[in-house]
Assembly symmetry: C2
């Protein structure tokens, strides 16, 4: 999925490609630019969503909020949140009703849009440290799973924690933890290392979102909190309308990854 040219694009150029209709997972795109999950909800639910994020900061680290009527911000300067993501999902009453390339016709003036950090952001420093990323090696989307861990509820919103999984060679797990923990704004340290059953995941070959990847001998499955978590809450809590990115098809922001690094 990484083409020879897309790591030389600016964030705005990448958004332009997606606005033009390109539909692809964004892992590996525009190294150094923070990537974001997108969730737009009617204004009446905005407090519940922001409170859900505050109570579940590993799954929902807020990078920015577009208020009702606002279509861009310093995170997507000159962009349009309705068109600049490679693929969207539209939920009505909690049911997925469309997966379009843009959401201009679904948009409403009262939608408040939450931009939540995505773990694709720390894949760049992981790769720089020589840690292999299996889904990139295979050219597929990262696998994501619903877990049996419940999020802290907030108002009308409740649901399970969703995680992304990356197999990591056993001798690099410590490095993967150390490096990702420096990026709390894009999910930070893993929530679990090893046995998927402890998270209630029965079969790593059957992810709930994205594509399956194998776990090579001598590697461990490592699980990070995932920004699809609020989509799972939407499916459970059934707001009249919700619009999100399609899993793995992220907003590429103007925020440099380096600005998210602590300490």
């Amino acid at each position: 999925m990484t083409t020879p040219t897309n790591d030389r694009l600016s964030p705005a150029q990448a958004r332009g490609r997606f606005r033009g209709g390109l539909r692809t997972p964004t892992s590996g795109w525009v190294p150094g630019a923070a990537q974001a999950n997108v969730l737009a909800l009617p204004r009446g639910m905005a407090f519940d969503m922001l409170l859900f994020a505050q109570r579940n900061p590993k799954a929902c680290p807020v990078l920015g909020v577009l208020e009702a009527g606002q279509l861009d911000s310093e995170l997507l300067a000159g962009g349009d949140i309705r068109t600049d993501v490679p693929a969207y999902r539209v939920y009505r009453d909690g049911a997925l009703v469309a997966e379009p390339d843009d959401v201009v016709e679904h948009w409403r003036e009262d939608l408040v849009t939450f931009l939540l950090g995505c773990s694709f952001t720390f894949e760049t420093p992981l790769r720089r440290a020589g840690i292999p990323l299996r889904h990139q090696q295979l050219g597929v989307n990262v696998p994501m799973f619903r877990t049996t861990r419940r999020c802290a509820p907030a108002g009308t919103l409740s649901g399970p924690l969703v995680v992304s999984m990356r197999p990591i060679p056993a001798d690099r797990v410590a490095d993967a933890v150390r490096i990702s923990s420096r990026f709390p704004g894009v999910h930070g340290a893993p929530v679990h290392v090893g046995d998927p059953a402890a998270l209630g995941i029965g079969d790593l070959a059957a992810p709930d979102f994205g594509d399956a990847v194998d776990v090579p001998d001598g590697w461990l499955p490592v699980f990070w909190a995932c920004g699809v978590t609020p989509q799972a809450a939407v499916m459970e809590s059934r707001p009249e309308l919700a619009i999100s990115h399609a899993p793995g098809h992220m907003l590429i922001t103007d925020l440099p990854e380096a600005k998210l690094q602590v300490p």
Copy 2:
């Protein structure tokens, strides 16, 4: 202000003293327990306040939110947010109208309460490292100042950044930065070191909140973002009702300081 006994109290015991009517600044109280700023606003303003906090995380780090009708939480187990703070402020249409010991008679069912980290929390690790705290030496409240720096606005809320000031010996400034930066949940690293004029502060002897302290020869004034910032936004943005702690008179929570330390 620190008595021989109050550093042996549990957070719940300290809250009990304040519920019983004791009125005192809380710097130095219950070492190891996180202290919190309090701001309660009508539910209709709750999203604006949470968004204001998200956009101004150094001034408004959210430790917890009590939803409408909720009077305690795991941050003040068995407590009552209307009585357990040493002193409160009541604002109507942005004007300070009362500074009572409890706010039972002012309370409304639709108030949402925000608990924001307070820098008194990292005073304990500063002191443990041998860094002198002038306001504790003098037995007074910490001095706080409005600055000419503006916060990022959110909906109806806007206002200036408010800072607390601690003079620090020049050879310990680096340590004070290093240690406080490990506690982003209670304001983290300073926003400014040195010349107060750069923040628009004319006279260190005339704080806007709290008490003046001198800056001894060879010490520098060091400024941290302060949780009184949303009170300044309330004064400017004039919601019909707002209830807060009185500056320096904080909620002592059950959250251990150690849980706030990163990395």
